[in-house]
């Protein structure tokens, strides 16, 4: 339906373009005058005035229609019933009403759901009708208005360009809106969570088992219950597990990545560089779920069998397997970034070192790397931020048990794993368990934000040094 309306608007506005252009060409030909702008701009002017307001209204309508209809339906239920519903029940009823309307209802049919579905249907048709009427009148009004202005407008080009620039600016605001959206969605649920669980108990508690938390109503928690509840949401084991796996990953990625970066930048011939660089970068292009599958199916069992041979107890979902595979994934980030920063070191520094008789490796160790250090640190920090935000590898290969351990052969869990495990499948909204996932997301967001900020500062400082 919306697609059809959109197509109609586009069609109409395209014909407006041709109509406006033709009109101006006719006027100029008949009156032997010259307009200030090319005929095309008059066409654009009319077409934009015809399309933009209507499309904007259509977009807003589409986005807000479900919310408004839901509010109406819920209002109807609460006002026509003597019974009190809490928000969860209302949500459920609304979902059932929608399911009944769509024809995939399962379960027992109650009177209010049946009535609700009828209401829903009538609301939808009212909304549909009023949408069409409003859109048609908007299109007519704006088109007529701009058409009236068209003939006497000497600044059609400037006007069109102004609109164009406004559209450009709006598009660049999407980035800000996304950030606001992220912060809003994370903060909103997290604040609800922190009203139930003290933020310090969340950040410094050492026991994590959200499946134990069954509280529905946050206002009725007794102190004893709270003591038990806070033991379900202590996130230190997750932070430790995340840091631990990231650490293992960096042990793999930093030496291999750094050395291959150095080799490609300083030693490799052009031919070797040309072929080996893209091959290493394939590692960065492989989806993380593939690494996860690889870690869970090949690396994990391999370590377990290997450990058994030496009488070691190795869990098939071990921090070692996840960290190792994650390290392999991160190699190309470290290598290509450090390759870039090493290439940016001025040749004169190297020449000076060679001139006093240093070998190539001595030059690299004593001159190039110290000069490139801020850039290298920056790239390693970016890699760390990638490692702690990485999800699929740890979900598939690191395990679920939240325990404080530094034994890489045991299974550990991470922030991202827990977010996925809490939110996979159906969630109950307004339970501390669901909200805790958003609190974890907020922590993750800020952790990566700070790391990225520091890393970019390092890289920027380094760039300034040699510019």
């Amino acid at each position: 339906m919306n697609l059809a309306i959109l197509l109609l608007i586009v069609l109409f506005s395209t014909s407006c373009f041709f109509f406006g252009r033709k009109k101006i060409i006719n006027i100029t030909a008949a009156n032997k005058i010259r307009m200030n702008a090319l005929p095309d701009y008059y066409g654009y002017y009319l077409a934009l005035w015809c399309a933009i307001p209507a499309v904007l209204i259509l977009a807003f309508w589409t986005v807000f229609e479900p919310t408004i209809i839901k509010a109406f339906i819920i209002n109807n239920i609460t006002s026509s019933n003597l019974k009190e519903f809490n928000s969860d029940e209302l949500n459920l009823i609304y979902q059932q009403i929608k399911a009944l309307y769509l024809g995939n209802f399962t379960g027992t049919l109650s009177e209010e759901i049946r009535r609700g579905a009828e209401n829903y249907k009538s609301f939808l048709s009212i909304a549909e009708g009023s949408k069409i009427v409003i859109l048609i009148s908007i299109v007519i009004v704006t088109t007529l208005y701009s058409y009236k202005k068209l003939i006497n407008n000497n600044k059609a080009r400037e006007d069109v360009e102004k609109i164009f620039k406004a559209v450009l600016f709006t598009c660049s605001l999407v980035a800000i809106l996304t950030t606001i959206g992220i912060i809003f969605s994370l903060l909103f649920e997290s604040i609800k969570f922190f009203t139930t669980i003290n933020i310090f108990d969340f950040l410094f508690g050492t026991s994590w088992s959200p499946q134990r938390a069954f509280v529905r109503d946050a206002s009725t928690i007794t102190p004893e219950e709270y003591n038990e509840l806070k033991d379900a949401f202590g996130s230190v084991p997750l932070f430790a597990g995340t840091a631990f796996i990231a650490f293992i990953a960096m042990i793999v990625a930093v030496p291999i990545g750094l050395f291959s970066g150095i080799y490609l930048a300083e030693y490799a011939s052009k031919k070797v560089r040309k072929y080996s660089k893209p091959i290493i970068e394939i590692l960065a292009g492989i989806p993380t779920v593939v690494y996860g599958f690889f870690a869970a199916l090949t690396v994990g069992p391999f370590f377990r069998e290997f450990g058994e041979r030496f009488g070691l107890e190795v869990s098939s979902e071990s921090a070692l397997a996840a960290g190792l595979v994650m390290g392999v994934m991160i190699i190309p980030y470290v290598s290509s970034l450090s390759d870039d920063v090493i290439n940016a070191v001025p040749q004169s520094l190297r020449d000076g070192s060679y001139a006093v008789g240093a070998t190539k490796s001595e030059t690299i160790k004593k001159v190039v790397i110290p000069a490139a250090l801020p850039g290298i640190v920056g790239s390693v920090l970016l890699a760390v931020s990638r490692a702690i935000g990485e999800t699929m590898i740890v979900v598939m290969a690191a395990g679920l048990a939240a325990r404080l351990t530094i034994n890489p052969l045991e299974s550990t869990t991470t922030i991202t794993t827990q977010i996925v495990m809490i939110l996979i499948g159906d969630q109950e909204f307004d339970s501390p368990k669901t909200q805790s996932a958003f609190a974890l997301g907020l922590t993750l967001f800020f952790a990566t934000l700070i790391l990225n900020y520091i890393a970019l500062r390092f890289v920027k400082k380094y760039r300034e040094k040699y510019e």
Binding site: K70, K165, S185, E390, L449
Partner: protein, 420 residues
């Protein structure tokens, strides 16, 4: 230490250092080869399917069918007895347990397969036809040589009797291997031999289309603004900081955004390519804007100045001259961004694309899976057959990614102009 010794030592250190570097490069390349090798050796089996030839006697009287029945009439007829009878004719059985064992060497959809055969070949009514029925997962794996048949009977799912049937069928040449079209046409299934990536292929396709339609125009317009028109002020700085930060935000956070805002606040339909596409578009946007800006920046100022000099307005110089020259670069940046989005899993899990969907989606608002999510879902299954299915899905996914990336490289090399 004498001078010569010292020099030798330094040269040894030099050699050692170079060796470390070379080893690292070789190690990284070996990882790639190993990974690809593991996936391909595990996945190639999924492209073939094991079938068993069964004689079926389509006697219309027994089926209670009229002569010259329509498709609908056949569809409504019960083929169960006929199917069971034909299956039991494959091998001589003794007792209920053996009959059960015999039927279990076939995939559970045998009745539908027989029905579809006769609908497509009505000429076989009242005749006997030899139909290739899909074998069960265990027989399929056994036939591909992946099944540990040397284990004692109580530790394997295939009974000794079934092994006996299998060996007899092989001897009689009644077991065939054909190309597995199910893998591409079927939706998800609980039975590995029937499961296919058809649904998730379509889901991924719709998702990427939505992502492309949203992210490409917005990204290119935003980068034109930032590169060509933006004044140097606080708002511009703030936008740039935001773009750079968003490019490094973990993908799972975008999943939380989709869950909280799109599903929670705006009540969009769950598990659909539409929501997945919007979420991925928001995630990909900064990653596309950065290369788009780079390719706009690469257009030399002389082009703009030339246009301005002959009287074009600023907007005209940008839209008529700068943007057309930058298009190849922006396109290749977009394709690489989309390839990343295509392989993304975590945000899609959060917006509910892990639902078990059997039907193929026909529009972006139907619930569906996507290729990477399918990999995740199947990797959690215990059946042996799903391991090769998962690897095959990865192969399909990687094929798409490699094609997209190669196309991006081609675009860049073919159309990008070097200014120097």
């Amino acid at each position: 230490m004498s001078k010569e010794e010292l020099l030798k030592k330094r040269y040894r250190a030099e050699k050692r250092f170079k060796f470390y570097g070379l080893t690292s490069v070789i190690l990284a390349i070996l990882f790639v080869l190993f990974l690809v090798n593991v996936i391909f050796s595990k996945g190639k089996g999924a492209f073939s399917r094991t079938t068993i030839s069964v004689e079926v006697d389509f006697n219309t009287e027994k089926l209670e069918l009229k002569n010259n029945p329509t498709n609908k009439e056949i569809q409504d007829t019960d083929f169960y007895d006929l199917s069971i009878e034909s299956l039991l004719n494959v091998y001589k059985t003794n007792g209920l347990k053996e009959e059960k064992d015999l039927i279990r060497i076939f995939s559970p959809d045998y009745e539908i397969e027989i029905k579809n055969f006769i609908i497509e070949n009505k000429g076989f009514l009242n005749k006997t036809a030899i139909i290739e029925l899909t074998a069960s997962d265990d027989i399929d794996q056994l036939n591909k040589g992946n099944y540990p048949r040397h284990l004692p009977e109580e530790r394997r799912r295939i009974s000794d009797f079934q092994l006996l049937i299998y060996d007899k069928l092989v001897e009689d040449n009644k077991i065939q291997k054909t190309f597995n079209t199910f893998l591409f046409t079927n939706g998800d299934s609980r039975d590995p031999e029937l499961a296919g990536v058809g649904g998730s292929l379509l889901g991924s396709f719709f998702t990427i289309i939505v992502t492309l339609l949203l992210s490409f125009p917005i990204a290119i317009l935003a980068s034109i603004y930032l590169e060509e028109f933006a004044p140097k002020n606080r708002i511009t700085d703030f936008i740039e900081i935001n773009i750079n930060n968003l490019a490094a935000v973990p993908s799972i956070v975008f999943g939380l955004l989709g869950l909280g805002i799109l599903l929670g606040t705006f009540d969009f339909p769950r598990s659909t390519p539409l929501v997945a596409g919007i979420t991925l578009a928001l995630m990909t946007l900064p990653r596309i804007i950065i290369p788009c800006r780079a390719s706009l920046k690469a257009v030399p100022p002389s082009i703009r100045e030339g246009a301005l000099a002959v009287g074009a307005s600023k907007v005209q110089s940008v839209t008529h001259h700068v943007v057309p020259l930058a298009i190849p670069g922006t396109l290749s940046g977009t394709i690489i961004g989309l390839a990343q989005a295509l392989g993304e899993t975590a945000p899609l899990i959060l917006i509910g694309m892990v639902a078990f969907v059997v039907d193929l989606p026909s529009s972006p608002v139907d619930p569906s899976a996507s290729l990477p999510v399918q990999v995740y879902l199947w990797s959690e299954q215990a059946e042996r057959g799903f391991v090769e299915k998962t690897s095959a899905t990865i192969m399909i996914l990687l094929t798409f990614l490699i094609t997209m990336n190669a196309f991006a490289v081609y675009l860049r090399q073919k159309f990008e102009r070097r200014w120097s």
